[in-house]
Amino acid sequence: MSERFIYFDHAATTPVRPEVLEAMLPYFDKKYGNASSIYSIARESRAAVDEAREMVANAIGAKSDEIYFTSGGTEADNWAIKGIARGSADKGKHIITTSIEHHAVLHTCQYLEKEGFDVTYLPVDEKGLISPAQVEEAIREDTILISVMFANNEIGTIQPIEEIGEIAKRHGIVFHTDAVQAVGNIHIDVKKLGVDLLSMSAHKFYGPKGVGALYIRKGTKLASYIHGGAQERGKRASTENVPGIVGMGRAIEIATQNMDSYNKKLLELREMTIDKVLATIPYTRLNGDRDKRLPGNVNFSFEFIEGESLLLLLDMAGIGASSGSACTSGSLDPSHVLLAIGLPHGIAHGSLRLTFGKDNTREDVEYLLEVLPGIVERLRRMSPLYERVKNREE
């Protein structure tokens, strides 16, 4: 077992940064008041929640009364989609989304299909992109919602959200984007983008787990999600997760301040990794678009090997990463995103996702580049698929 541990899985989650933790701590034991009560410590909680709401709103160009705190990105996605479906059932039952959404969107849409909704899952090209024209063509009389993810969690592809927003607006259809991977990591301005609903999650930008938010553009008719109290303007009941909300506010504020400097570094690490890996490891492909991609995301497929084996050997070398192989997804199929961009099953099983973060260094990446070729070769030497190719070459 290696002594060092290098974390390259920031798309899965990020550590809470010290300033965020510090901001949260008083709200667990000292300032524990229920934000709905009237005495002094309760008013402090209320003020802290209001302040955090303002910070989240500022980060995405929204007004603070358009931000609704949730338990995370998954809840925000569920609320956006089910909320529109329930609130607009008289207008129609058609939803447009894509085949590479996070399961929080896909499974919610599949659930609605069972209830009689009709869902179009737009295919993506080999880079994982959808075109605005595809969206426009899919629009019907009874379309009530377009939901397209901002940036993909596996291959990092960034979609043409602004153009899709224009189309949605022109047709008067509500537009939702799952921006869980994007918020806090790349610049977002909801006014410019023309989105009506946007999901976000704090633990993707060095905030705590268990808290997220849904941006709801003023005037968007969305059914309430959790009943039982007046919290979140009566739309999402439940006593506010004050420490979590405070943490999210502080985290997004710091993330916004540092975004450009972080991204400069992440981009450098990303490009260095892509160039070196493609140059040194044969039978390797980069998944996703080279340019329209999150600054910290890299996703490769190494032919003839399987992802879980790769992850375990990387872990032994002290590197934490992830894969879209079946064995890591808990099902028999590899990632739906990798299949959607046209990878054959065998190649999709051999994928590796590395997502860099603010604390990663050039040295970390150099260490990866030092150990990765040997690990891939070691597994390939064990693989009957590689043997066939080698025999053909000889």
């Binding site: 003839f304 090997i305 399987e306 992802g307 879980e308 084996s309 375990l312 032994m316 192989s325 079946a326 064995c327 808990g330 028999l332 590899p334 054959p344 099953h345 065998g346 099983h349 030497r381 064990m382 693989s383 009957p384 698929l385 590689y386 043997e387």
Partner: protein, 123 residues
């Protein structure tokens, strides 16, 4: 998630490789499912004197391949044919339930290699 034995056989797999002019070769699985195992046998007087394997798959697939080849080495083919996937999994101190199909692959690959040998010797 994995037992120490599984990790040992994954990190240090026994009998990896190929045998030139093997007496029996068995290949099972497919890339679609993410598991392929290929077994090579050298057989003398119906005794498995040497065995090698190559596997494309997860840690459980590699570890079960390694263990299965250890279990059949030196055995009479009749005895090797009786080795079940459960025996392979047990020898590894168990597998997570979702990975049990990997041990079935090892059993099938050994059987396929012995059948290949039997067919060749009948020709």
């Amino acid at each position: 998630m994995y037992s120490e034995k599984v990790m040992d056989h994954f990190m240090h797999p026994r009998n990896v490789g190929e045998i030139e002019n093997a007496d029996g070769i068995g290949e099972v699985g497919n890339a679609k499912c993410g598991d392929i195992m290929k077994v090579y046998l050298t057989i003398e007087d119906d005794i498995i004197v040497d065995v090698k394997f190559k596997t494309f798959g997860c840690a459980a697939a590699i570890a079960t391949s390694s263990m299965a080849t250890e279990l059949v080495k030196g055995k009479h083919i009749d005895e090797a044919l009786t080795i079940t996937n459960k025996a392979v999994a047990q020898a590894l101190d168990g597998l997570p339930p979702i990975k049990m199909h990997c041990s079935a692959l090892a059993e099938q690959a050994i059987k396929a290699a012995i059948e290949d040998y039997l067919q060749k010797s009948n020709d």
